[in-house]
Symmetry: C2
Subunit: 293 residues, 2 copies
Amino acid sequence: MPAGRLPGRKAATAAPEAPPIRLGYIDYLNCLPVYFGIEQGAVELDVTVQKGPPSALNRAFREGRLDVTPVSSIEYARHAADCVIIPGLSISADGRVASILLFHRRPLEELDGRPVALTASSATSVVLTRIILELRYGVRPAYRVAPPDLDAMLAEHDAALLIGDDALLAAQAYPEIPHVDLGAEWKAFTGHPMVYALWVARRELAEADPAALRRVVRVFHASQEYAWDRRPEMVAEAVARRGLPPDVVDDYFDLIRHEFGPRYRRGLVAFYEYARRLGELDAVPPLRVWGEE
Amino acid sequence: MPAGRLPGRKAATAAPEAPPIRLGYIDYLNCLPVYFGIEQGAVELDVTVQKGPPSALNRAFREGRLDVTPVSSIEYARHAADCVIIPGLSISADGRVASILLFHRRPLEELDGRPVALTASSATSVVLTRIILELRYGVRPAYRVAPPDLDAMLAEHDAALLIGDDALLAAQAYPEIPHVDLGAEWKAFTGHPMVYALWVARRELAEADPAALRRVVRVFHASQEYAWDRRPEMVAEAVARRGLPPDVVDDYFDLIRHEFGPRYRRGLVAFYEYARRLGELDAVPPLRVWGEE
């Protein structure tokens, strides 16, 4: 997707010749409360925004074409040395998340050796699925990657993982197919909130231009304040984009948390510990939060 | 209550001659997740801690005998010029809070002109009660202050406000008396989380010794990480102190949030706007968060 220069006045703290900050933007509903003010041009800033799926943003960030972007939790763990975490910002849920759903044709306890369809779009939710099935329910299915089409997935598999807007839509469209909410399963299993994604900055930017990073933190704050101050408009915008019922969107905006305080950090470290136990990570990475090193 | 020097090594960043930071500590369950690591001596720090009810801490802070302390949201609004907000820390709930309960003998819609007993211990919950009764239910009761004894309160009043541990205990002891949860009422009325308290630092300390304040922020972070890493022990400690059932305490630690991100800030500003409408505040104060001015 092409990058676009957003409207908005130049931040007063920016040097006149400072290049714009290049922000990534995952075009999922769960990011809307973070970007709504930016999108609406209501925040003083000098940034460009590149929208795309997580995999495209991850690649752009690794290749130095983005300065600040959301990355999935597992992606951070695998590249922690190259980046710093933006403080106070995540995509999390403290239990039910509504958008990471495992639909199943037979009870989870009976999935040992059975085919389970995963999505290619999110490594973090795949690891979460493994944690829940293998460590909570004690089964080891045969995983396969499949496109996010529930009918097709369940025609050939006993369970199917859907995430993001696909999951929200499928829960509406297939109320008769049982599913478990993997955020709720995680909470019941570990007691922790689950952190699905973080925002990171390139380490060299953070070191070379801390003022730019402070500007980014302020922009994200202001954009979120704008969003929560206009929640009905934000819900209406989300409804228009996705065709979901307003009450589903409204509930979702309550479930998704964008905080990253100590409790969420502990949840993230717990996730990394389980991922390591399953061989998905070599080690639990340190959480390098900008301003705290 | 006497101040006590806590164990724990001196923080490496503190100058050898730096005086200890004087922290206030409201001895309610909702503060335990913030102070558990400090209490257990598990955090590197050089602080003294003074425990007490909010009113005593407010006074000690105003008289310069505390450097950093929790204050109720209304207290902050009334003294915003003298202090700065510690970033990323509050006592909040996004809906049901379980510990701000209005017990009632008749429906809320019928309380116009009727006697309602308030507690003297918290100005913020008194203002919240007024917002819910007067602006949501459209009634104007006759308020009186009474000691927190539910039987005695309801002998002479049609409704009674209890807060904090008193409320948690009364909900257990009097399941037959109907009550509304004012956090849930606030959320249903406004859509916002409700921020009950903040942590503040004396402005002169923040300006004269920013390194000390950074140390305090780190100590609160580390103390919370310690707490959430040992949630079962923390629940057991709370059960031992209050005699509440473990599942009540565990549920309460899920409801109480200690975040203070943009969404919570908007909730706090909304609360101030309603308080002003009721004449409880002259103006909505700016949120002066340390490091953001």
